[in-house]
Symmetry: C2
Subunit: 103 residues, 2 copies
């Protein structure tokens, strides 16, 4: 594999529900969170606001079990298919993309 | 709507096929490409490598007709449901995410 992390050492990861195919969230990974995701089979991200590793669901219980990881043609984005244990969004919505843009 | 563009004035957009729900690609928008996408009903991006506006499919013919635009809980990512006229990827694959990551 050849992945292109950005100048901050980060790569965006699109998280998709493997059953419903809904896009649940987009978060960022650094190489350490990517390694932990692969090693544990659960999603780990890098929180840009808190500047720390973030094991998705560690506090809420809403872990995301990784089923498959894909990457795009230019290797600068990940797509991770997951089985979520609960809502992805901190608002309680199943997906973070619960709002349509009204013009 | 309240969108949070990054320090480069960009926001990532996840492009999803409205029928198959496959994630086709992720690209970046600035405010001008977002306005053009809304005005034309077809996807426009900002090419970070070429540093220019990019009307998806203008040369290949593989336009993406926007069906719905969503945004996430913290307003820093877009999700656009499209009807694609052809493959999203310059490689000819339907989606840019045609490879699984082998460890």
């Amino acid at each position: 594999m050849e992945l292109n992390f950005d100048s901050y050492g980060l790569i965006p990861a699109v998280i998709q529900d493997v059953k419903t195919k809904d896009v649940l969230m987009v978060a960022w990974m650094n190489s350490e969170s990517l390694k932990k995701t692969i090693a544990t089979g659960e999603t780990w991200f890098w929180s840009r606001s808190r500047k720390e590793l973030w094991h998705k669901g560690a506090t809420s219980g809403n872990l995301q079990k990784m089923v498959e990881m894909r990457y795009d043609c230019d290797g600068d984005t990940l797509l991770i298919m997951v089985e979520p244990a609960g809502p992805a969004c901190h608002t309680g919505n199943q997906t973070c993309f619960y709002r349509a843009l009204e013009e």
